[in-house]
Amino acid sequence: MSALLHATDLQKTYVTGEARVTALAGVSLTLEPGDFVALMGPSGCGKSTLLHLCGGMDRPTLGEIVFEGKPLASLGDDQLTRVRRDRIGFVFQFFNLLPTLTLGDNIALPCLLGGMRPADAEARAAQLAGRVGIGHRLQHYPQQVSGGEMQRAAIARALVHQPGLLVADEPTGNLDSENGARVLALLTELNSELGITILLATHSSEVARAAQRVLRMRDGKFDDVVAAV
């Protein structure tokens, strides 16, 4: 089976004024379909940058990313947007739901942006919401539900368009331990039952333990590779 994502020797340097900050200093990574990979490391080690690059949000200074057989560097802005919209799902620490849309609309949004018929998008959103346990909250606004429910809605949104890769940046970082555990269980379940590939950044070794592989980072590089139990 060919790799879902193959990143080779990624480097990323930010230039602000006269200062140059190297966020990634030559990182290579391969994700196979069905992988659940956790990135760990101290703040500023480059894990979020690596997530952004793998998620097609940003472009590397040097190096190459091939996603589902397509080199991302060769894609224009519109094509890259299409890749994000159709093939990648995102989950963030602060949920990043649009506060002005109901949870239902939030979940359906990627499908609607992709041009799906509203009725179909809503049906799919409802189904996924039920799957993540917030089916009764579809008409609520983000600020009317708990943090755990918001994050579950964010996960549903990330999956509604059936992406090949789920990118999650500290998905439990803003949740209490109970809600954090539930979200983690949900991610594990999605990975094991639906075979969804997950690339996740976290500070928490508990979260990391749920992954099949844990990649430790320091100063923009991988420290070592530890296979999860």
């Binding site: 949000m57 802005d77 947007t81 506060p99 002005t100 942006l113 600020q143």
Partner: protein, 874 residues
Amino acid sequence: MSWRLFKQFILRPLLKERARTITTTIGIALGVGVVIAIQLTNASSVRGFETALSTVAGKAGIEIVGTGGINESLLPELGWLREFGAASAVIEGEMAIVEGTAVRPAQRVEALKVLGVDILRDLTLREYVVGAAATSGAQPEGLGGDTLTPQRFLELLTSPQSVVITEKLARRRGYSLGDEIRLMAGDRVNTYVIRGLLKDEGPARVMDGSFVLMDIAAAQLAFDRLGRVDRIDVVLAGASDNAAIDAAVEGIGARLPDGLTAQRPGRRGQQVERMLAAFHLNLTALSWVSLVVGLFLVYNTVTISVIARRDEIGTLRALGVTRGQVLALFLGEAAALGLAGTIVGIGLGRLLADVAVDLTSRTVSTLYIATAAVPPALTPGLIALAFAIGIPLSLVAAWLPSREASLVSPTAAMRGHDRLESRVHLRPRALLLPLAVLILAGGLATLPPINGQPLFGYASSFVTIIGASLLVPAIIYGLARVMRGPLRRMLGVEGLLAHANLSAAIPRLSISVAALAVSLSMMVAVAVMIGSFRDTVVYWVGQTLQADLFIGPGMRPTAGSEQTLSATVIDAVRAHPDVAAVDSFRNIDLVYNNNLVVLGAGNFDIVLSHGSLLFKEPADGREALRRAIGTESVVVSEVFANKYDTKPGDTLMLQTPAGPRPFAVVAVYYDYAVDRGVIVMDRATFVRYFGELAPSGVAAYLKPGAEPEQVRSEILAGLDEGHRAFIYTNRALRAEVLRIFDSTFAITYALEIIAVVVAMLGVGATLLTLVIERRRELSMLRLIGAARRQVQRVVVIEAALIGAASQAIGLVVGLVLSVLLVYVINVQSFGWTIQFRIPVAFLAQVSIAVVIATALAGIYPARQAARLVLTQDE
């Protein structure tokens, strides 16, 4: 707070974000500029007149005037005036230089102020410095500014064809001593010889040197005022302080025969000022709209700066900067913008004044007074006014966002928690205040005018605008609720997102929507008012302009400058075989209740047989008119009736040359030509009291089958080179009336357009605020797959929705304001009955234009939104 912090935290970003800073500065500058421009424009007409008045008045402290002038035969009886000082009778009027030999009267090239005096007497009152002179048959001699002996001066003006002009005028038009100059007064063109050139002193300074001096007898001849003088100027011997002048006015007044009045020369200026007051007040009120709208921009800009630097504010607060210091920082930003806007606005105001004077001078000179169309210089007072409105009002506009900044808590800002704006809920209680304000507005509309000015009417409009602005959040909330489904269906996911974004930003949005809605409502109100007025005038013109030809002198009359038709022209009209009847009319200025009104004389029998007046009351106006023929009766215009609370059956005391005389008011008729009020009496009555005065114009009724255009050409062709008249056919006069009407309101539209442009800038700025405020959500959208174009479309749809909501509110509020304009402000300041009409097609066009324009205003913020970086590091 240190200057250093202000520089780093406020000034540096202002310089860096040039688009925002420049837009706001332009907004304030336009607001301040328009106010200054209108002040200058208003001053130009009044001050132009007053300057001319005082320049020509010279040392004269008192003038003696009478209705329709002073009969020359009275002069010998006034010898006692010597006890008070020196007196000089004058003829003052306007002539035009006529160049070329074309028959068309439009060939007048420059209007001149003409003073006819007995030079021997007048030299004690006015200072004439002759630079060069040439008596008939003698060689020109340069005088280098030395005084000319009275004897020599007299020699200059002995012939009725002699005139002295100014060096300035000679230079401007290339005249030399001894040259001939053709001047038109009324319909008469005469050739004069230039005998002297005046230096730029005394009366020669009037109207930038457009001044002609001639002998009083020559002037009487030229203006067809034989046997009359316009006034007698008196310079007091001895003390000339205020008390002495007041005492002399009283002393002289007591001894004057009936019909003559002693007054200060400035009195005429005050009358003109009062005459123009309503017109000026309207312009001033309109000019403030742009300023108010400009202030919304300040609010927006400071809001943007607060939102964009919320984290920095939090950091500053965490580091020990107090709430008061944060408040001062952002108020300082508003003050800096206000200062820049005011400085630019003062310069802009001076430039706009040129345009505004251009736009209004035609109105002022057509309807009111002849005046030089040059805006006066900026005075320190006006500059102070600019600063007094620009900076404090900017601070007021910035108060709310600055306060918001001062309330940012150090921890919340650092954590980014207070960004999440919850959805807006409307409490029914929130409707109480706006409704109370609107009820107050309704109450104010019922109050009577103060000193003839509809101050409560303006207050009611202002309070209506405030009430409507307070209601805006509720209206948007309601619109948001009903529009969700339709927008989603019509505009897809972008419609859904735009709706969601706007719904969440209602408090922020309300200010911009209110600003745009206010300026649009003013535009709608003015459009409805002007449209209704125009329709009414068209109807009135159709009903009342019945004559086939209207003949007037080549020089048009204005208040203070009467122009008449000569017998030659009237005879030519009468003599034409196709002319069935001729109605001559004569207008003079009459002082009534200290105001200038128009006293007209017409042949009532011809009006009854051929013409038509629209009577307001009594029902049978024609019968009343018949009874007024030859009797001490008058009909008055609706404006007069409203202004002076007059109705049929009342008696008016009118100042005639023989003193005050009673006249019965028999009818009130509709008139839209003169806003200072008209009293009309039958010609026979007029002649009995005011003497046989040459007519100001005549109306000719043709025999059936006659071709007006042909008759017009034939009459004009029959006139000799010495006579110039305007002859309008009925159709041409109707067109001319509407042309004058439209030019009157050109300034109104210009002011409105500026206000709308400023409001559009405001919409652009608001969207930019929203984009900055929602940058996290917008980049979130991009992350989950929204294409740049989709994000841009969302913002442009938001802009168009803001435009549509503003226009919808503007239409409703505008209609309410138009009712106030037509039924309160107009009635109280002008007194016209206007048939209320809604120009549906025009309003539909404006509405579409507004939505398109606001959508365009959204393009820049849309681009900014699409450019946001995608990473979510915050």
